[in-house]
Symmetry: C2
Subunit: 141 residues, 2 copies
């Protein structure tokens, strides 16, 4: 039955692997992160260190919060603030062996989940779109 | 069986109704839309006309594209450009009577779907989060 197919899938089967994921480095200035976000069109992307370990995520929301001062735009913050200072770190991660239902549960409150190995090296991301696509196929057979 | 419960749900059962949805008006300057997006934290929100009819959606991505000039930030565009000039209009809508599987299919490529009646009056939105939450409950019984 289809049930078996769906439950056998893992994050690795539906993930966007690391080389295809737009990301930034910890010590990049915010200006660089904003450029990556605007050219890719993504709301948020992972932040990695120089050894490719996962550190957090940075989005347009956090960058806008940094530059919208009370009176005016503080554009100079884009060159003086680093990604490390503005990123979110309290985000869940999963191993790429996680099953689809574990991914589904984690994606209720997050647009994407980062996949890391036991030494925190970055493997890729699983997105809401990928899980919704599998569920759509499951119900429409 | 649970199957029956899931398939009986409609968009109206899981939607965020219009009075709880952050939105902007067609003729607002972009500066106003940016303020709503930054204070609410949302990536994008619906655009309505003065009679509460749905017109499109406006997000941080479209606003940033308007103000990031080639050489420098063109902040003045925030006061001179209207929401109508920068919004996306080719987005799908559904009636609030749509069933859950119809919502699931539409949400594969959109973070949220606007719900409108037959005269295009805005009823609310259905989000990926709401559908993922129902599917999570369905599989975890
Ligand atoms: N260039 C594009 N082409 C086609 N569709 C696009 C698109 N950009 C965005 N979308 C659509 O809009 C949804 C929300 O994108 P958002 O950028 O807010 O949020 C994205 C983004 O923050 C991140 N993301 C997705 N793919 C990425 C990648 N290759 N590299 C880095 N981050 C990625 O994961 C979130 C969820 O992605 P998901 O695919 O579930 O959901 C995406 C997708 O359905
Ligand atoms: N203030 C908050 N409190 C708790 N969680 C929050 C939150 N803001 C964002 N999130 C979480 O982040 C996800 C992506 O939000 P985003 O703003 O990119 O994308 C949002 C936003 O553009 C829009 N949206 C959601 N609720 C809205 C509302 N009340 N008014 C206007 N737009 C809304 O629908 C998209 C999808 O929403 P969804 O709930 O599926 O998914 C949300 C939710 O899981």
């Amino acid at each position: 039955k289809e049930d078996q197919q769906l439950f056998k899938l893992t994050a690795e089967d539906i993930m966007i692997s690391s080389e295809k994921v737009a990301h930034v480095q910890l010590n990049n200035p915010l200006e660089h992160a904003l450029l990556i976000l605007v050219t890719s069109g993504y709301s948020a992307v992972p932040v990695l260190d120089s050894k490719y370990r996962f550190k957090g995520i940075i989005g347009k929301s956090s960058i806008l919060n940094e530059i919208m001062g009370l009176e005016r735009f503080e554009i100079e913050n884009l060159t003086t603030t680093t990604v490390e200072a503005a990123m979110q770190t309290d985000v869940p991660c999963l191993p790429k062996s996680a099953d689809l239902l574990t991914c589904l549960k984690a994606l209720i409150d997050h647009s994407f989940i980062c996949l890391v190995d036991d030494k925190n090296y970055f493997d890729g991301i699983v997105t809401r779109r990928a899980v919704l696509e599998q569920l759509n196929q499951f119900f429409h057979v």
